[in-house]
């Protein structure tokens, strides 16, 4: 097992190197630069600004310096917000994205599993059709529609919840629902189909024949085998939630890391683009590793070579 983890860590080094290199050069291919402004800056000043950030050096020298700093986990100052370093931007933004992702996941589990169970137990009945209809809606409606709709109802009509911003628990509710909804419906579907399968198993029929209560069957006998696929979905789902919240962060003005993905590319903030891309790449690699290790624990039959 340790050997497996070590090998995976070693393999991830060239992967990260490739990600860093590709991003560096793609970014530099885009026209314009970070210190362009509508107001023309005298050429002497422009030259001074370029020199201050080392942008006047040959590209390969810049690339070398960048790799050297990256190896020391120093992502440099942001070019768009020069009073901040990219390390700081990530340190401030990532916990927010993580919180949002976790809140969304809690919502997805809290709503998805009970709904799925209900639909499976009442299979073919009105409740089942109703929940599956809602699920279809939940899958097909994108977050940029759900978000404003929720805001309209709960913030601007009922005045129950704040429409945006981040900091208190009530500000977390709407974004967590918006972001978590597609995952909730996915989990509900997963739970429903799995539970339907499980309930058809012989051992369940045996339990029923012995007169075990319906609740006890669900809780004692069907629970673990039903939740297995849900648990294995959690790892990728969390990574996806944390990295995929750009739209929700925008709608609810949440100071997470997602927005830098888009905005720093527009403002040619080279260091921030590189920093966030490399950070997310590392995060995804780590998340995948954790999931693989977790599989191994959950199902010892899995072999890694």
């Amino acid at each position: 097992m340790i050997q497996f983890i070590l090998r995976r860590c070693l393999i991830s080094i060239p992967v990260m190197f490739l990600v860093a290199t590709t991003t560096f050069f793609i970014m530099r291919l885009a026209p314009g630069g970070p210190f362009l402004s509508e107001r023309a800056i005298p050429p002497e000043i422009q030259a001074n600004i370029q020199a201050k950030y080392g942008l006047d050096q040959p590209l390969l020298v810049q690339y070398g310096k960048y790799l050297y700093n990256l190896a020391r986990f120093d992502l440099g100052p942001s070019y768009k917000y020069p009073e901040r370093t990219v390390n700081e931007i990530i340190a401030e933004g990532f916990p927010v994205s993580l919180q949002l992702g976790l809140a969304a996941l809690c919502f997805a589990l809290g709503v998805g599993i009970p709904t799925g169970v209900l639909a499976a137990v009442k299979q073919g009945r009105a409740v089942d059709h109703l929940t599956m209809g809602v699920i279809l809606f939940g899958i097909s409606v994108p977050t940029f529609v759900t978000g404003p709709l929720l805001v309209f109802v709960f913030s601007l009509t009922l005045y129950w919840l704040p429409p945006a911003l981040w900091g208190s628990w009530d500000q977390m509710i709407l974004p967590a629902i918006t972001l978590g909804l597609p995952y909730a419906v996915y989990i509900a579907r997963l739970t429903r189909s799995q539970l339907i399968d499980v309930l058809k198993q012989d051992y369940i029929r045996t339990a029923r024949a012995k007169g075990v209560s319906e609740f006890r069957i669900l809780w004692k006998h069907a629970r673990n085998s039903t939740l297995m696929p849900v648990v294995s979905f959690l790892g990728p789902a969390l990574a996806d939630l944390v990295t995929g919240s750009i739209v929700v962060e925008k709608i609810f003005a949440i100071p997470g890391l997602g927005r830098y993905f888009v905005e720093s590319a527009f403002s040619r903030d080279y260091t921030t683009v590189l920093g966030t891309v490399v950070f997310y790449a590392g995060l995804l690699i780590a998340a995948n590793l954790v999931v693989d290790v977790a599989y191994k624990f959950l199902d010892p039959r899995i072999e890694y070579s």
Partner: protein, 571 residues
């Protein structure tokens, strides 16, 4: 490289591909529809005001500053989002009157201007302190100004100090000795400034953020980190207590401010909400009290005017125009440029398309400058336009090469460009392609003069016609037209030396009439600023530069009895 001719639809589509984020663009397209539904729904409540009107429980003023400030260092900043924060943290020699923006005593109690207009002597007040207890002295200004001009600082706004003697030479490295720059502390409380030319707006510049003093001991100690909440020291009405990037900046009243008795807010929160629809939701639900500077989405604007008392639209000293690249045919021909200008129905663009209070006009200097009247420009005249185009050798547009109109990707710019395209096709029979680019590429294209016609907007830094007319000088870095006119340059040089204000205005008017005759630019309209301000906020007034000193703002809890005018008091 040959570019495929673009229709409006493909422009939008390629724009979407270029941003590599279709979700994002789809969002941008759907949101207005949704937002509009929300707006209409809220109108059903038939309130006189947009959203909640209950003052916040605490004595706090909250506004949406828009973008995250790039700098809090006044010597480095360039944007008005940064300015709003700096104006609370620092105070210059003079400060702006909140209604008229005219300079009034700030750190300088009084000043003397020599008859030749070249020497200013400022006498500083004695009670002014930095927030760490140091006294504010004339040396702090000398340090701050020479720091901005120091080539090593690489301040992007250093050129605003160029009216000062030797400032330009020092900034560009042609002069090494900083003591030659025309700013000098005669003693702790006397500052003498010598100018290169007697520019009449210099006193106004002393209200400007680039000329704020900075605390040398803090700047030297902490370097680029000096504006962090834990380090920063200011001399303004407020001090910084929290800064969460891309979220909020929290300020509280500075008890050491010399005029602290007049500051009636305990705290100010400036949010950095970029999405306009999110921002307006925050305003509607009463989470923010002020939406400055066009943070009202443009598709809301036509529905707000005249319906909500907390909405206002004010003409701004800012020009929307198109820059023509005059270096190659057919646009090197003055007749062609005139034909283009005469074929634009500006009123249709402002009154039917935009409907946001913009003032249509062919004048280059925007309307609303006291004491200045633009000479007549090329107003809408399609017959004359067609005649001029024929005279230039393209009767009915025959033989006219297909040229390109570039703009940065934004819905409003696109709609305007499409309208222009149609007008030129209808009135002149010429076909112009539209080309959108995202901001950074667009700026590069225009500065490299790789455009034919490109969108341009300019906001005055100080209320003077020169803020615009300087742009068209052949040596000006912002002149992306390639147009050079010796007579124009001579008039501008003469205006700078002229000490008689009336004579100076005449010279500037003559200069503008050359622009309006030669037309290296096609002016469309003067901007307007659309804002929302809760009726309980007092002390914020509409101004032509969209600058709003917040020192004396207050929250009136009894506004329902006393009325919603921004004048008035809160006790």
């Amino acid at each position: 490289m040959e570019r495929t001719p673009l229709t409006a639809e493909t422009v939008a589509a390629t724009g979407a591909c270029r941003t590599a984020s279709t979700r994002h663009t789809a969002l941008a397209r759907l949101l207005p529809v949704l937002a509009l539904t929300l707006l209409l729904a809220s109108c059903r409540r038939e309130s006189e005001y947009f959203g909640k009107t209950d003052p916040p429980e605490e004595n706090v003023f909250r506004f949406n500053n828009g973008a995250e400030p790039e700098y809090l260092d006044p010597g480095m900043m360039t944007a008005n989002t940064d300015e709003r924060i700096a104006a609370m943290l620092f105070e210059g020699l003079t400060q702006k009157d909140p209604r008229t923006l005219q300079p009034m005593p700030g750190i300088a109690e009084r000043w003397e201007i020599a008859p030749d207009g070249l020497t200013y002597t400022f006498f500083l007040r004695r009670g002014a302190q930095w927030s760490d207890g140091h006294t504010v002295t004339a040396h702090d200004f000398v340090y701050a100004w020479t720091r901005v001009l120091d080539p090593k600082t690489a301040s992007a706004f250093a050129s605003i100090l160029y009216p000062i003697l030797n400032a330009e030479q020092f900034n560009q490295g042609k002069l090494k000795d900083r003591s030659q720059v025309g700013v000098e502390a005669l003693d702790n409380y006397t500052l003498r400034v010598r100018l290169q030319d007697p520019v009449p707006y210099f006193l106004y510049l002393t209200t400007f953020f680039t000329l704020y003093p900075v605390p040398s001991w803090i700047v030297e100690k902490h370097g680029a980190d000096w504006t962090r909440p834990e380090h920063v020291v200011g001399n303004g009405a407020f001090r910084l207590i929290e800064h969460r990037i891309n979220d909020r900046i929290v300020l509280e009243k500075n008890p050491r401010y010399y005029n602290a008795a007049q500051v009636r807010l305990d705290r100010v929160i400036a949010y950095a909400v970029v999405d306009l629809y999110t921002a307006i939701n925050l305003y509607e639900s009463g989470e923010v009290d002020w939406m400055p500077s066009n943070s009202v989405p443009s598709d809301f604007v036509p529905h707000m005017q005249g319906r909500f008392r907390d909405y206002s639209s004010t003409p701004q000293l800012a020009s929307y125009y198109f820059t023509i690249n005059t270096t190659h045919p057919p646009f090197d021909n003055r007749l062609v440029r005139r034909a283009l200008a005469l074929a634009i129905d500006r009123r249709a663009i402002t009154d039917e398309l935009l409907r946001g209070g913009q003032i249509p006009g062919s004048n280059f200097v925007p309307v609303g400058l006291p004491g200045y009247q633009s000479p007549p420009g090329p107003d809408y005249n399609p017959q004359e336009a067609a005649r001029l185009l024929a005279e230039a050798g393209y009767p009915g547009g025959k033989g006219f090469p297909e040229m390109e109109l570039s703009f940065n990707t934004l819905e409003t710019h696109k709609r305007i460009a499409e309208a222009m395209q149609q007008m030129w096709e209808k009135n002149l029979g010429i076909r112009i392609r539209l080309h959108n680019e995202e901001w950074a590429s667009f700026i590069k294209t225009r500065q490299n003069k790789e455009h034919d016609i490109a969108r341009q907007g300019w906001i005055a830094d100080y209320p003077d016609p020169a803020a615009f007319l300087d742009l068209m000088e052949s040596t000006n870095g912002n002149n992306d037209t390639g147009w050079k006119n010796a007579k124009y340059d001579a008039l501008m040089t003469a205006s700078r030396k002229e000490t008689d204000p009336f004579r100076r205005i005449e010279l500037l008017q003559q200069a503008e009439s050359i622009v309006l005759d030669e037309l290296p630019v096609l002016p469309l309209y003067s901007y307007s600023v659309n804002t929302l301000l809760k009726p309980y906020v007092k002390g914020i007034y509409p101004t032509s530069l969209d600058m709003h000193p917040l020192n004396e703002v207050c929250i009136d809890r009894r506004w329902r009895e006393r009325g919603d005018s921004p004048d008035g008091h809160c006790e």
